[in-house]
């Protein structure tokens, strides 16, 4: 049995390590071969980028060598896939190698596409890459007064990030003693300040307490960089001194080039996590087209389900459980408080008041991630 995992992000790595342990006897007996193909020899802890953007972490703290995170029984190659030939159960990599499989897992992730909004690349700061997060922090440090406008592209990874960004901006300028000289204006695509109703209800009085201005039903259409104006699809506009964008995302180019899914998102069964029409192809994390948060947390819980099911298929001939849509997101409510949102397909989150211990737990998790991604937590 040949299992091929394409993608070495959070989901792919947790899945591969989990499978390697569940199938250790089969791998030793050479009945199972587990291979991972990734585009990078490095693994980034992506939630850390928000801390980099506020000078609380440096980029080097976000990385580990991918090989150091993997069980030694995993056959790991830095050689990204360029062609998926699902009908022939094989992929072809950038180096030209052919990998055949019996079970394929696609976990290629997503990418930011700020270029889809005219003026966004030139006019807005962001924190979704190492370089942009560092640049954003330098811009924040330079700012002494004026309007900071936050806009949110659709779809985007980590739906909690826009709210966390606002809390961090408030605390950052407050710590510098210039909060009264900075106007923070938040723009959100739908008719409330967060897509999860319970988060919106929780965050609104917090925004009011911090003096955050907000405009809902604002889908960013273009940025007039020269005049420092951001305009919406809905016909409104805001003048800014510093513009920060949660950029729109797409799935990876290789998914679109191979016609596996519109927008780079692969049509996926929401319970089985198999690609529609392909029972031997699993999809997880950002790569799916599921109406589920694109977060490391969703990828983590999906990976556990897929690992258990692949293992069970090999051991007893059948999968054993469905993915229930579980997501657990920390919500940083500034630089010293946090809460969390836990939900699944059927049960909404019940947000608790932010607390310091929950913030410390998040700080601890930033280190515990490396244990988690090894599949040990």
């Amino acid at each position: 049995m040949r299992i091929l995992v394409v993608g070495g992000g959070t989901g792919g790595t947790i899945l591969a390590n989990n499978l390697a342990r569940r199938l250790s006897a089969e791998i030793r007996a050479r009945k199972v071969r587990l291979t991972m193909l990734s585009a990078s020899d490095k693994h980034m802890y992506q939630p850390g980028l928000l801390y980099v953007a506020f000078g609380q972490m440096t980029p080097d703290q976000l990385y580990r060598d991918q090989a150091s995170l993997l069980e030694s029984s995993i056959d790991f190659h830095v050689d990204p896939v360029e062609q998926f030939q699902l009908d022939q159960k094989k992929v072809i990599t950038k180096s030209g190698k052919v990998h055949e499989y019996d079970i394929l897992v696609i976990a290629t992730g997503s990418r930011i596409v700020p270029e889809e909004v005219p003026g966004l690349v030139e006019g807005a700061e962001t924190f979704y890459t190492e370089a942009s997060a560092v640049k954003m922090f330098k811009r924040l440090r330079e700012l002494e007064e004026g309007t900071v406008a936050v806009v949110v592209g659709v779809p985007h990874k980590c739906p909690i990030a826009p709210v966390e960004l606002i809390f961090s901006l408030h605390d950052y300028f407050k710590a510098r003693g210039i909060r009264d000289k900075i106007k923070i204006k938040y723009h959100y695509p739908i008719g409330r300040i967060h897509t999860i109703k319970e988060v919106a209800i929780w965050a609104k009085p917090e925004f009011d307490r911090m003096g955050i201005e907000y405009e809902t039903l604002f889908n960013v259409k273009e940025v007039d960089v020269k005049n420092k104006v951001v305009k919406s699809e809905e016909g409104t506009e805001t003048h800014y001194d510093l513009l920060i964008a949660i950029p729109p995302h797409r799935g990876m180019e290789v998914i679109e080039k191979n016609n596996l899914g519109e927008g780079g998102w692969i049509p996926t069964d929401r319970y089985k996590l198999t690609m529609n029409g392909h029972d031997n192809v699993y999809v997880l994390g950002d790569t799916t087209n599921l109406p589920v948060s694109k977060t490391g947390s969703a990828a983590h819980f999906e990976a556990e389900v897929i690992a258990e099911n692949i293992s069970s298929i090999i051991k007893i001939g059948t999968p054993v459980r469905d993915y229930d849509g579980k997501v657990y997101c920390f919500v940083e409510a500034g630089h010293d408080r946090a809460t969390y949102a836990m939900f699944n397909y059927l049960n909404p989150p019940d947000l608790k008041p932010p607390s310091k211990p929950m913030h410390w737990f998040k700080m601890a998790y930033n280190q515990m991630y490396w244990t988690s991604v090894r599949g040990l937590l």
Binding site: P159, P189, G263
Partner: protein, 76 residues
């Protein structure tokens, strides 16, 4: 027989039905028709609010067996 593209956002809290619809509208062409399925009680009002504000067209909006079926034509 419907030729609408179905956006199935039933039983989801995040990113939620309207955010799902906006994603699919961005991927569609002018003139395309999408049918949003939603179990969020608020969708019957908040989806038309956005569609009308941005200038697309609501074709139909009805609740069948607890599920909102909202058809939208992309107009711009």
């Amino acid at each position: 027989m419907s030729d609408s593209k179905i956006v199935d956002a039933r039983d989801t809290f995040c990113p939620g039905p309207l955010m799902e619809l906006i994603t699919h509208m961005k991927q569609s062409n002018v003139g395309d028709t999408l049918e949003l399925l939603s179990t969020d009680e608020g969708s019957g009002a908040d989806v038309p609010e956005w569609v009308n504000k941005v200038g697309h067209e609501i074709i139909s909006n009805e609740k069948i067996d607890g599920v909102w079926h909202i058809k939208i034509r992309k107009a711009k």
